[in-house]
Symmetry: C2
Subunit: 399 residues, 2 copies
């Protein structure tokens, strides 16, 4: 702020707030005619509109005063009970009294950062990692500490160097952006090493239910107990527009997270919580989720086929077993950030990889989403992208 007449002085942390790179890119890609493989938007066809409409009508008929009144900061009791039962099916024992309903799981990240991070605190993160988490933690002025990773996630031996970190932030299932999952044996080794070095785990699991080949192993939190916080979301199983997520917190953190939640927005909209509960309470997800999985599996397979058919030699990727994203490593020295404007000209958009690295890191990779557009458009988009990459390679050879 250089205006000398302005009475406003910003907090130091405001310098760590920056425009979301992805949101800026998404604006570009809203141009007509662009096939966007950039956004992480769930397919709107998968939203349970009819069930939501019925549930909304029921809530406003049977419990309007409770749904529209101020409510407990902890969240709606029956929804917390339901979550507890649901998590037990995934192997996580969660006392409903330790479940805090949040305004999307993004708020869970904000609250965790607020309660744990001092200026200069170390926060260990995967490379790459979820950009939204970097943005949620950044205003609390941490030093991000990269955890060495391979195709199975963070290396267990990386946790020794993370000793003293306020948390290790991990996404074990179909990670955004890499699509990578941590296998069961690696999970055990990570939990053991994190415990040995006193590194608490913040486990973020927005994509766990979106598996297309087999269900993921139990969460890290199931083994880590009081040494882990677990974050979940309704955004991918119902709809993101409800902004419903939750945190399962250990005894050492629950009261502070709850107080931070009160200070942040008093409580998550009671109307939304009751509508979601009405939708899910009688096993709706048991039929809804298989349909969502089948849809996304087709799209995942279409993208895998398109990548195999069109990408030039030297590109590298793993087929993800769930989630929403392929992560493509480009041939040496092709810069995904520099390539984006040409891709948009060619009618396709993606998210360059660089912002997903806490140190700004690698620019030779990009993220492609397969959940928003149809298989035909996926093929068309990947073909256009392949053309742009091939052109960049030709230019390099010619130079």
């Amino acid at each position: 702020m250089s205006d000398p007449a302005s009475p406003w002085t910003l907090a130091r942390r405001a310098a760590r707030l920056n425009p979301s790179t992805i949101r800026e890119i998404l604006k570009l890609t809203e141009l007509p005619g662009i096939i966007s493989l950039a956004g992480g938007l769930p397919a709107p066809e998968s939203f349970p509109v009819e069930a939501m409409a019925e549930a909304s009508a029921r809530v406003l008929r049977d419990q309007p005063r409770e749904a529209l009144q101020y409510a407990a900061s902890e969240g709606f009791g029956p929804l917390r009970e339901w979550l507890s039962a649901q998590l037990a099916r995934d192997g996580l024992k969660a006392d409903p009294a330790r479940i805090l309903v949040t305004t999307g799981s993004q708020q869970g990240l904000d609250l965790v950062g607020k309660v744990l991070v001092d200026p200069g605190s170390r926060v260990a993160v995967e490379q790459p990692t979820y950009l939204g988490a970097l943005q949620a933690f950044a205003p609390f002025e941490p030093e991000f500490q990269p955890l060495a990773c391979d195709d199975e996630g963070p290396l267990p031996e990386a946790f020794a160097a993370a000793r003293g970190a306020r948390m290790a932030y991990l996404l074990p299932n179909f990670q955004n952006p890499s699509g990578r999952s941590i296998p069961a044996a690696r999970r055990e080794a990570i939990v053991a090493q994190a415990a040995a070095h006193g590194v608490p785990i913040v486990e973020d699991n927005p994509y766990g239910e979106l598996w297309y080949d087999e269900a993921p192993p139990p969460p890290l939190s199931a083994a880590a107990g009081e040494g882990a916080v677990y974050l979940g979301s309704f955004s991918k199983v119902l709809a993101p527009g409800l902004r419903l997520g939750f945190v399962v917190a250990p005894a050492a953190l629950f009261p502070k997270l709850l107080q931070a939640k009160q200070a942040a927005d008093l409580h998550t909209p009671g109307f939304n919580q009751r509508v979601a509960y009405e939708v899910v309470r009688d096993g709706f997800l048991d039929t809804h989720l298989p349909a969502v999985r089948a849809r996304y599996k087709r799209q995942r397979d279409a993208m895998q086929a398109a990548l195999q058919a069109h990408l030039p030699a030297g590109c590298r990727w793993q087929k993800p077993h769930g989630g929403m994203f392929f992560w493509v490593e480009l041939p040496p020295a092709v810069d995904a950030t520099a390539l984006l404007p040409r891709a948009v000209e060619a009618g396709v958009a993606y998210v360059p990889g660089a912002p997903f690295f806490s140190d700004g890191g690698r620019s030779d990779c990009l993220r492609l989403s397969f959940v928003t557009v149809t298989p035909e458009r996926i093929d068309e988009g990947v073909r256009a992208l392949a053309g742009v990459i091939a052109q960049a390679l030709d230019t390099r050879k010619a130079a």
Copy 2:
């Protein structure tokens, strides 16, 4: 955290997070048979249930995909346009592009604190002031600076001492907890003095529409221009369970508040924003608000009559011209905090005044809400409270 085995280390700011005194009191007052004059809960009879039900059905029929998808962090465009037009009626020119929709106005307070307050920053506040704001700002570790006040609000000459404060947080209309309003002339003087001393204003106006005698003067922000942030809420005009509020921000702050909003919860639920817009778009409030005002005016008058009829000599209060609260000053040395358990025994609850003072200040005052219970119950509750106060006075005389 004294457990040596725990891997968790809390951020320093976590020490400034504390259980909400009011929420703890509210738990007490949920006991059956207690007449609660404690909570600030709007009368559920005033919620526009039918309009909400129709709007929800319409939104999920006509725009389900947009309502349930991720959405812009700024908020729903048509709702921001509507807010701009609505604020113009109150004398505040607000560019829709500078309106940020928040998850309740509590989130507006959190974002303002996040963007403006460094550890040790001074934040000037009225005495008493809204407890929820103290709680929202506290984690950012400000030093609260009391502004000297009289029955017309903060004294203009108090702003000289506030020079260098990151903000002066003010509630000009029917303040929570004091019920006090700032008259037009005092508003002008405050804006002039704040500008002269470079003190930016954060104006919180959740109660402005709840006037029972005459509409309040234009907001401070109308005169302060770029030197003020304005916070508003749908909680008192529609229903708090939607969690819808908004911030009107100057150019110097809007981008940072928006980025803080993205980091905090991505966006306020699009479903809720669209439902609220459907309810209000065609002038619904023009008939709804007069009905709400008429209801609350009856209850305000009932409480005024009850206080006049029952309270012992030495109690002092002003009849509020709007809002939800009476603020009662007790005879010297009667302690409202110490008295609460006896009041609850006698069947009535209130909120002691102490937590509303940033310095823990005065304990000889209490807050009474007139919006939640019927006129008959108000009379009954005030009569019980009067008995307890009279008893305390007798005990003091006897001692």
